[in-house]
């Protein structure tokens, strides 16, 4: 084989290897292109984040293909041939070129910054009178969601005087102590209404994360957090603690059930009417190991 034939044979080999890799990848069963983009947003704020994500992604992809293309071009085009001992032109720089490739990235990142800032103002916007307020208590290694619909402060729901005026949602305790069998608690929220979460941690830092809302917020002890969101798509969405919080961090899962206003009100009424459903609130004091509701400072 001559050197040129050899080179082409090598290129064919590389292409074949890449093809085999692609076939191998596509043979994967639970991978699909849905995983390659963020989840479809289920909240107004999430949609805003998704829009800015898409912009950053398109610009990022363009930069990737441009620069990776330049690298590949240089590598393929400017290889030193055997026996070529001549020195290439000794170019030390080019001021005009260097100013251009400094200025253009500055313009791009400033534009991205401004767009991101605008989106941030949407995502972090707060209304003073949210129709729904829910207390969220994070602790090692579970969540508690507290609803106090008739004007009680959720932090006071543990007080005896407020018995029957609050709904507290726990995860279902594990069967036989097996944490992996723990049914995650479900937060019910009405669709298209602004929901405020008042979040409190009783021990270490946790983080409230719902991928479908494209949003997370750390809950630090002594630093209660207030967030608001407006879910706009009915469905059940997975949530999980993302701030590593110790031994059983991975079991800190929960769900958010977005339902119609009527369903939400019906659910709340049912939970408020004694006897309460054992699955939602097993006992007045909650499962062993979970803290009292009145844990706020």
């Amino acid at each position: 084989m001559g050197p040129i034939a050899k080179r082409w044979a090598r290129r064919a080999g590389v292409v074949a290897a890449l093809g085999a890799l692609a076939v191998l990848l596509s043979a994967c069963s639970d991978f699909n292109l849905r995983t390659a983009v963020p989840p479809d947003a289920a909240s107004v704020q999430g949609q805003a984040s998704r829009n800015i994500y898409d912009i950053v992604f398109v610009i990022g992809a363009a930069v990737f293909f441009l620069v990776e293309g330049l690298i590949l071009f240089a590598v393929l085009r400017y290889r030193r041939r055997a026996g070529d001992d001549e020195l290439p032109p000794q170019i030390h720089g080019n001021n005009r070129l260097e100013i251009i490739w400094t200025a253009i990235p500055i313009a791009i990142v400033l534009a991205l910054f401004v767009l991101s800032w605008q989106t941030l103002n949407t995502v972090d916007a707060r209304t003073p009178t949210p129709p729904v307020r829910i207390g969220v208590v994070a602790f090692q290694w579970q969540w508690q969601f507290v609803y106090a619909p008739d004007g009680v402060r959720w932090e006071d729901c543990g007080a005896p005087a407020n018995k029957g005026r609050c709904v507290t949602v726990f995860g279902t305790p594990p069967a036989g102590g097996d944490r992996s069998k723990w049914t995650p608690p479900t937060m019910h929220v009405p669709v298209d209404e602004t929901v405020e979460l008042q979040m409190h941690s009783t021990d270490v830092i946790h983080s409230f994360y719902v991928p479908a809302f494209l949003y997370q917020r750390d809950i630090t002890p002594r630093k209660d957090q207030v967030i608001q969101f407006t879910a706009d798509r009915i469905g059940i969405y997975r949530g999980q603690c993302t701030q590593f919080c110790g031994l059983y961090h991975q079991f800190m899962e929960f769900q958010v059930q977005v339902e119609s206003k009527a369903d939400y009100v019906a659910w709340l009424q049912q939970e408020l009417t004694p006897p309460r459903s054992p699955s939602a609130a097993p006992s007045a004091s909650g499962p062993a190991g979970s803290p009292a509701v009145s844990a706020a400072p």
């Binding site: 989840p39 030390h92 961090h249």
Partner: protein, 545 residues
Amino acid sequence: MATTALRPAATYRTGLYEWLTTTDHKKIGILYTFNSLILFLIGGIFALAVRTELAQPGLQFMTEATYNQMFTMHASVMIFWVVIPFLAGFGNYLVPLMIGAPDMAFPRINALSFWLLPLSAMIALLGFPLGGAASAGWTSYSPLVQAKFSTGPGTDLWIVALTLVGTSSILGAINFLVTIFKMRAPGMTLFRMPVFVWTILVTSVLVLMGTPVLTSALIMLYIDRNLGGSFFNTALAGGNAILWQNVFWFYSHPAVYIMILPAMGIVSEVIPTFSRKPLFGYKAFVFATAGIGALGFSVWAHHMFTTGSVYLPFFSLMTFLIAVPTGVKMFNWVATMFRGKIRFTTAMLYAVGFLSLFLIGGINGAFLASVPVDYHVHATYFIVAHIHYVLFGGSIMGIFAGLYYWWPKMFGRKLNEGLGKIHFVGIFIGMNLTFFPMHLMGISGMPRRIADYSATAGWNDLNLLATIGGFTIAASMLPFLWNVFITLRGGEPAGDDPWEGNTLEWATSSPPPPYNFDHLPPIRSERPVFDRRHANDVPSLTAGH
């Protein structure tokens, strides 16, 4: 042409006592290299443990307690005992040679800087036989790291070990700065220094400004845990968990630049040599390095966007801006290759690998500068993907480029190029198989640092793929280790200047004698050895700036 009459090879065959007591910067550099290599293997085993457990949903191989130790110690070892000291080792070996100095300014402090590293590594790893190593993550956020939640000696050993590493770094940084400012050969002006020396200079400034902050924070943390302090302990009045994050990231974000700038310096030596051209835009490159160093101290709180405790627009803007000097460098490297005559040695392959992978680490970093995007991907596998494209695709690729490039200088023998290329192909494919899928897991919401994940979340195959990639990387290390073994026993003799290098280390013998040079070539540009080699060429080819 050797510029020394000494045959130095014999001095490298001396006994154990010589290695234990040496103050020769070259021997210390080699000690750094081998210490870092050994810890790279240990940290790699921790990584394989993590990947093995995550190959399938469910806990198959270890408990949560073990898993948490594995990812904590993987990150700690790789950052504090592999990447930072590996690059400091290159600095030790190369800086005096490159500026034409006989040794570092403080040779005995230099030896102390090194010996603190194996000592501290042993202290940190001692946690395993003593009932469990540190397991609060390498970031060790308070209050999780407090005595109430992290029991056992592992965390205290980790704090003591990191304090020693910090001391080692600070001593090393002072040593580098004094060496660079006071010991350059006649003619070696600052703007004739090799770019690698510039990156070590800027890195040393970062270390000097950042490391004392972390080291003091670690001492405060120790007081919190053992002496009833309330610096970061929220269980006591006055304790502030966010304060820990501020001081931790005030060091640990610049630490990313401490881990990438010298690797950029390595690549900036390798690419010009094998393209047979000078680095395109030397001064711009130096200013970009200094710019990264300066901006590097104003971006730490982008690790804290989701805490609700930082002023978001400022840190978002600065984080976006720091992409600019990095982008400038990328264009400089590519322009250096343009119209060059590129020779694909293993070192050059690693340098090109650095460019193509670090590019991804830079672009996905820009995602994190956008606060709303960060709200979604923070603390997910997207972050794991990002940091590994920076530290593995960037730093580790740069380190291997440097090993293949300077090995002949260090030992007088070339690493085998065939085995080197196998090593490169394996690590390049394995690296992408491992870390690219993590982007996808991250944006679909898989949190990092979980020992187990839901079987129905759509992450099974991506995790399996990442695990296969992890073992591919591990397998590709075997030809490398074999290569090191056979080369140390007698590889191809390298000669003084096997690659037609540009900088002063190629003007002495391989390995160089103690105190490095008998005499130096004249230094009239940043490429004195190139100038000497082409002194009689047509002037238009070698004209300076």
